[in-house]
Point group: C2
Chain length 276, copies 2
Amino acid sequence: MTTEHEPDLSRPAFPDPADRDTLIALAEAAADLAGRIIRPYFRARLDIDDKSDASPVTIADRNAEQAMRAYLAEHCPEYGVLGEEFGLDRPAAPRRWVLDPIDGTRAFITGRPVFGTLIGLLEGDRPLLGLIDQPITGERWIGIAGEATRFRGSFGGVPGTRACAALAQAELSCTSPEMFRPQDKPRFDALAAAARRVSWGGDCYAYGLLALGQIDVIAEATLKPWDWAALVPVIEGAGGRMTDWAGAPLRLDGDGCALAVGDAALLDQAVAALAA
Amino acid sequence: MTTEHEPDLSRPAFPDPADRDTLIALAEAAADLAGRIIRPYFRARLDIDDKSDASPVTIADRNAEQAMRAYLAEHCPEYGVLGEEFGLDRPAAPRRWVLDPIDGTRAFITGRPVFGTLIGLLEGDRPLLGLIDQPITGERWIGIAGEATRFRGSFGGVPGTRACAALAQAELSCTSPEMFRPQDKPRFDALAAAARRVSWGGDCYAYGLLALGQIDVIAEATLKPWDWAALVPVIEGAGGRMTDWAGAPLRLDGDGCALAVGDAALLDQAVAALAA
């Protein structure tokens, strides 16, 4: 089985390095802003309503997204912004920031420091830049199309996926067995049966760990563009691949099924297992 | 439905406060020792074999347990020690330290900072003292029978379970759907269907979060004494209850099914759901 669709890497993402550095600085500043807003709500002792207007997670999510939108609109007015809570601004812009202030709502709600703030930059469907920030642990991953992934944090870890040529040896991860649609679950179960072991939980943080060579495969479903846009450059810049379940590049109009592998040799094996 | 077996709280756990303080200091020193041994292996870039002699998790687990055993044998020679890796020392001793250097092997292997070092003290089946330590985040919970649970850490959180009188409003957590025996899974599924929501992953760290009022119910299976001995005083000292799936105190010869609730009003509801 071969992977038919490869990302178009012929166009450089950032012909001008100064442009790239400016965009990284913007993304970092936006993540800093979001973190300052989110931190006071973490482990706050209030009643937690799922998505009611009064819940800490909703307040933190909305306030952080508004702050990032305002910052990016002021400092990068020619780019669009797509976010989970407030939709799409400037839809005609060819480049678009894609924001998820709190990826991992359940982790946040239950006090686990493994949710994340996601900031991606898309040109059409192509992810150019991605940032994963964990505002409680202080860990941050930055992926740039065509460049090596960067990582900062005090818990250890070095960017770079690990070698794992056989799916039977692979550490598989997934946020929750409840995330699958009925048609996805048997396909995931077939992948899990072919992998060495499954660990649960983690949301975007698990993709960060894959980029540090701690996890070999992640398969998830029902992802929205703001769930995956930031992850692709982090994974690919660490030596991995991130695609849909058929091995094709993720698209805005795709089915929300995402597959990440640390060792590119695992891609076809994982796609085959998911097709079984 | 009523809970038939209540823990015997008529005997004070530590008639002499000086005795209690000495034991807490011993447990804290043992956890410090374990943390120093474990930290260098976290996110180490080596091949990870499940339980082979050469894997980082096995080396860290064994070395940490040996160090704690040696320390406790020297400073507390009249007590027994039961640990996952090296069995039972001094079996005739009425009190017994119960050690799990790395509870949450999968979390450790995948680089998630939500595993923990567990140090419990049992008198027969009765947990007198329990310590949960997360050596990467620096969070530590200390539970003492009959006293308020203590917590230290820089990520926020205050000891004390939260009010949640109805199972339908409860945040349920569990480490992994793979931990259940075939006869346990439908019972857990019935509980999950009656709860508000399920989040996955966490091992002992989730019990710590329940003691901080972030999670309402945890139900797990196939636990060994070193998995639960340290958790009971942390949960109960925070206002919760920890029992088997019938609502009875956990026992060394029990079936390994454990249930923790933050609000005592949830205990009978959870037991009823698990019995369905």
